[in-house]
């Protein structure tokens, strides 16, 4: 990569819209999402099921090919526009420059070939190397990912490995061509917490040692707090809030973020008698209310919220929220001070 590009964002997404046809109508599942991802940054994309986080990722990769789907907006990766790029060119980028790992490593690998064979194939698809050279790299990668006895493991089939090892093997495959961007869609959701901790540590080390950027998609706010530099919260296909992770967790600016954080049962400190739940459930994309999509569930909702889309306003350094409250001079109170955060962890 030329040196002059380092100041430019790796990925620049502007007004991304993905609409699916249903009953003669176009339903916008992703409705105007914009963000940038810098070099060596881990960006967390959080939201509940149906918030559009996986569809966003698939659209970035050009992997949505269902009939009649409309993808509009702009996705610039290293300065190249991906939307509308011919499949052949996209295919070259995929795997080499942008790689993706999924929640379920069992379905991402084919069961009929060994792990090593599949990683070798990926390397040989993108680079002119011999089988032997490819295998040497595969074994080294597996070793780097913390797979014990990588030479033997490379000769095993996916079903012979544990969930944690399969996920490591999938990350090894994703990294085999040194991609500059790794998209990880719920990479630890199917794993046990003790194994999840190992995989999250591995993802953090990718940023530090491989200088990769990671778009981490998850529903778990704990995973985001531990792993991501910046966080983007999606609600009903739109960005509710974006900010540096410490700022967003210490003082969320959008009532949805605040409500989501409050409804997580705490592990430390006093137990609340009742959890502060958010009433109701997210709207279906075809029944999104006018104005702010969160307004029917929001305790601060008022007339202004139901008329027009809320403005996307800055609430701090590189911190934005799609909410009318900051402009009305009524920002949310901070969630935690540093002192209470420490107290929470050490009861």
């Amino acid at each position: 990569m030329p040196a002059n590009m380092s100041s430019q964002a790796l990925l620049d997404v502007r007004d991304l819209r993905v609409s699916f046809p249903a009953r003669g109508q176009m339903i916008p599942i992703v409705d105007g999402v914009s963000f940038t991802l810098n070099h060596q940054e881990i960006l967390g994309l959080v939201g509940e099921s149906g918030s559009g986080k996986s569809v966003t990722a698939l659209a970035l990769m050009g992997l949505i090919d269902a009939a009649g789907v409309q993808v509009t907006g702009s996705v610039r990766f290293q300065g190249q526009e991906l939307i509308g790029m011919p499949q052949k060119k996209l295919r070259y980028l995929r795997g080499k420059e942008i790689a993706m790992i999924f929640q379920d490593p069992m379905t991402a690998f084919t069961p009929v070939y060994t792990i090593g064979w599949q990683i070798d194939e990926q390397i040989r698809a993108h680079e002119r190397v011999s089988r032997k050279q490819a295998r040497t790299r595969t074994v080294k990668l597996l070793g780097d990912m913390g797979v014990p006895d990588p030479e033997r493991t490379a000769n095993r089939y996916p079903h012979q490995l544990s969930g944690g090892l399969r996920q490591r093997a999938m990350i090894a495959m994703a990294l085999s061509c040194n991609p500059s961007l790794l998209i990880a869609d719920e990479p630890t959701t199917a794993l046990d917490v003790t194994v999840q901790a190992q995989i999250l540590e591995l993802i953090r080390s990718l940023r530090d040692t491989h200088h990769s950027s990671v778009l981490l998609i998850t529903h778990d706010m704990g995973v985001v707090a531990e792993t991501c530099d910046n966080t983007m919260v999606l609600y009903s296909g739109r960005v509710a809030e974006y900010g540096p992770t410490p700022a967003l967790f210490a003082s969320p600016s959008h009532p949805y973020t605040a409500g989501l954080l409050a409804s997580i049962p705490p592990l430390d400190g006093p137990r609340p008698l009742r959890l502060p739940a958010i009433a109701g459930s997210p709207p279906l994309p075809q029944n999104r209310p006018a104005g702010c999509a969160f307004s029917p569930r929001c305790q601060y909702a008022h007339t202004a919220c139901t008329i027009a889309l809320p403005p996307y306003v800055q609430t701090g350094a590189d911190h934005f929220a799609a909410c009318v409250l900051p402009q009305e001079g009524k920002p949310l109170p901070p969630r935690l001070s540093d002192a209470t955060a420490q107290e929470h962890f050490q009861p």
Binding site: E48, S49, S162, G163, G164, L165, D192, V193, T194, V195, Q196, A197, Q198, L200, E201, H219, D220, M221, G222, V223, V224, A225, E226, T227, T245, P246, F249, A250, G259, L260, L261, S263, I264, P265, P266, L267, D268, R271, P272, R274, L275, P276, A277, I278, A279, S281, P282, L336, D338, A341, H344, F345, P347
Partner: protein, 326 residues
């Protein structure tokens, strides 16, 4: 909730084993010698990672799967080997709620029909068949208990969100006024904001109706929120059991300590603990001695040879299966 010392446990489990036979003469010991008791009005949380036997345990307790050996005593009666006919009336007093709210409901039947079924099958307290008027009254009561509108009764399962469907499952479990409810991961398929509503509902119903729960889950934070006592399972056995605060704040088993430390907190700037190495060993070939010794940071020679028994370490009933408790 404190129960008086004179009352007897609603459920007592003694040395329960559940072994599945596999091809090539292999055996999977899903539940490997578990004993505990639950007092009326208590909420016992059972936590552990996948494959630790927590779901098998729940299913054995309700006789949905036959236990290989051991004893299950429900309201002072041994139900381990009761024939299905004798067990049936007892089933009214113990019910289960499962993880998959959609798979638990017949998609082709209306909610009202689904909820009326147990009321039609089982006679009332006086042994009489319930009249349709009685059933309708009960259905309305149930809808109110789980905060759903009466109109929901005429609709089909697919018309509801995941959280609403779990409310319907809870209503069905409550239909016959059970004393004990075993809930197996009842909120883990739900989004966080909805999960909090259902946890609150479980807690409210428990207080309102004086229910006893065995709440099986992998999420320690959820279990902590709802339970008075917690049992931590690892490879088929309870490795630690006691008061919720005692077990989670002053864990005595290195596994419990590692598990609580490994959960990512929704707070930034915390020091990260050193993660536990390796995976949970296969329950088919579980390690000799203490089953946790392959991953334990404090392992000693004795741990590899001798299987530690659950023993009390505090007068409040905190028990641990470790040779060298923390």
């Amino acid at each position: 909730m404190k129960t008086s010392a004179t009352s007897s446990p609603i459920l007592e489990v003694r040395d329960l084993y559940k072994t599945y036979r596999l091809p090539r003469r292999q055996e999977l010991k899903a539940v490997d010698g578990v004993s505990f008791s639950v007092m009326p009005g208590e909420v016992l949380g059972v936590v552990g990672e996948s494959g630790c036997g927590k779901s098998s345990l729940g299913r054995c307790l309700l006789r949905l799967a036959p236990a290989t050996s051991g004893q299950i005593v429900f309201e002072r009666g041994d139900i381990t080997h009761l024939p299905e006919r004798t067990l049936r009336p007892l089933r009214q007093r113990m019910q289960m709620v499962f993880q998959d709210s959609y798979a638990s409901l017949n998609p082709r039947r209306r909610i009202g029909d689904l909820l009326a079924e147990p009321l039609k099958v089982h006679p009332d307290a006086k042994g009489r068949k319930r009249s349709s008027a009685e059933i309708t009254t009960r259905l309305h009561e149930l809808m109110e208990l789980v905060s759903l509108p009466i109109t929901a009764l005429a609709r089909y399962p697919h018309e509801f969100s995941g959280g609403q469907r779990q409310r319907i499952n809870i209503a069905r479990a409550l239909a016959l006024s059970p004393r004990l409810i075993i809930a197996d991961e009842p909120v883990s398929a739900l989004d966080v904001s909805v999960q909090a509503q259902i946890i609150n509902l479980f807690a409210d119903l428990q207080k309102q109706l004086g229910l006893t729960y065995i709440f099986v889950a992998h999420d320690l934070a959820v279990v902590r929120q709802i339970s008075n006592r917690v049992a931590v399972m690892y490879l088929g056995r309870i490795v630690e059991i006691g008061d919720t605060d005692s077990v989670l704040h002053t864990p005595a088993h290195p596994y419990t300590a590692a598990l609580t430390a490994a959960i990512p907190r929704p707070v930034t700037g915390l020091a990260r603990p050193v993660p536990l190495q390796g995976d949970v060993p296969s329950p088919i070939n579980r390690p000799s001695g203490c089953r946790f010794h392959t991953r334990c940071p404090y392992v000693q020679t004795r741990c590899k040879q001798e299987d530690p028994a659950l023993h009390a370490i505090h007068p409040n009933g905190h028990e641990v299966a470790c040779h060298f408790p923390l």
